[in-house]
């Protein structure tokens, strides 16, 4: 239980301490990656709550989504199309859907426990 939390804290501290400067045009990739990671995380939580959680799917989805989002943004920048908008749209919609499902499940559980 403590290991993931430790990993999170380690990651945050690493991220805050990193002094690597990335070019300004690649910053949009990073935001897309953040969105993808959040989406996958909430997807994983939902899957876990729905008892369909699978390690491989979650991990592969996490990294693959991040890579795909970054690749999309990269392609968009080089084609002159704002493709990162597509990523933002897709991930945003999925994020909201996942959060909504999680909320409903939690609400159901809470009302069940109350009864």
């Amino acid at each position: 239980m403590w290991l993931p939390l430790l990993g999170l804290i380690l990651g945050i501290s690493l991220g805050l301490l990193t002094e690597i400067q990335i070019p300004e045009i690649y910053e949009s990739y990073l935001s897309i990656a953040v969105l993808a990671a959040l989406d996958t995380l909430f997807g994983g939580i939902r899957a876990h709550l729905q008892h369909v959680y699978d390690d491989k799917v979650f991990v592969s989805g996490f990294f693959f989504n991040i890579a795909l989002a970054a690749a999309l943004a990269f392609l968009g920048v080089h084609l002159g199309i704002d493709l990162y908008l597509a990523a933002i749209f897709a991930f945003g919609v999925r994020l909201f859907q996942n959060i909504a499902v999680i909320r409903r499940i939690l609400l159901t559980k809470w009302s069940e426990r109350k009864n």
Binding site: M1, L3, P4, L5, L6, G7, L8, I9, L10, G11, I12, S13, L14, G15, L16, T18, I22, E27, L30, S31, A33, V34, A37, L38, L41, G44, D55, F58, V59, F62, F63, I66
Partner: protein, 241 residues
């Protein structure tokens, strides 16, 4: 229930989740730090921009001031040029003025005059008083005038009558057989001396139908001579009247 499930997760799954959370934390924190840097940059950019604007305004102000000053300089330079031009002209005119002043000083007798010149002496003609009108034979001041005017016109620097130098305000008056020059009385014969170029003076006096001829026809004995050196002193104040 959740706890039991989590506890049941095998160590491999726990490790993968730890890895995922590590990456997630890293990405989140990194993007956060970058965006905060961006915000700082933007803020500093904003202040930089404001500063730049300020300096630009100052620059524009200075440029306008410079422009005004440049115009002023051009204006002044033009004035200076005009002055210089007038200087050049006035230098030329100064030379002329000096020459003129020299001539005028000679004219009013402020400075002594010396040099070559001619003498013209006028004597009363020989006459018989019982038979003829003596007025036709004696030298009148009009004759002296004629000679003096001719000499002056011919460029004589200084003229004297019987040693009395003439100046700008000299007067010659006829009082019977004598003439009065500047309050001094002189009898005939009158010797008029003139400083100047002898050739010019002589030729102008001896001109056909000129002064000498006229005076001769008025029965006056005119003797014209050239002199190598005529000296006339400067007139002093008491010489005037």
């Amino acid at each position: 229930m959740k706890k039991t499930k989590l506890l049941k997760v095998p160590s491999r799954g726990l490790i993968t989740i730890s890895m995922v959370s590590l990456v997630l934390g890293f990405i989140l924190a990194y993007s956060y730090s970058i965006s905060s840097e961006d915000n700082e940059k933007n803020a500093s950019n904003l202040s930089n921009f404001q500063e730049q604007e300020k300096y630009r305004e100052k620059l524009v102000e200075q440029k306008e001031r410079n422009k005004e000053l440049t115009e002023e300089i051009t204006d002044k330079q033009q004035k200076i040029r005009a002055f210089e031009h007038s200087f050049v002209e006035s230098e030329e005119s100064v030379e002329e003025l000096v020459e003129e002043a020299e001539i005028l000083r000679l004219l009013i007798g402020d400075i002594p005059s010396q040099g070559k010149g001619i003498t013209v002496s006028l004597e009363d003609g020989a006459y018989n008083p019982s038979q003829e009108n003596p007025n036709d034979y004696i030298v009148h001041e009009s004759h002296v005038f004629k000679v003096i005017n001719e000499l002056k016109i011919s460029g004589a620097e200084a003229i004297s009558i019987n040693g009395q130098r003439l100046h700008a305000n000299s007067y010659i008056r006829c009082t019977g057989p004598v003439i009065v020059v500047d309050g001094k009385t002189f009898p005939a014969p009158f010797t008029i001396e003139a400083v100047g170029d002898p050739k010019v003076l002589l030729s102008s006096v001896n001109l056909g139908g000129g002064v000498v001829d006229q005076l001769t026809s008025d029965n006056i004995v005119v003797t014209v001579g050239e002199k190598d050196l005529i000296t006339m002193p400067a007139l002093r104040e008491d010489d005037y009247s």
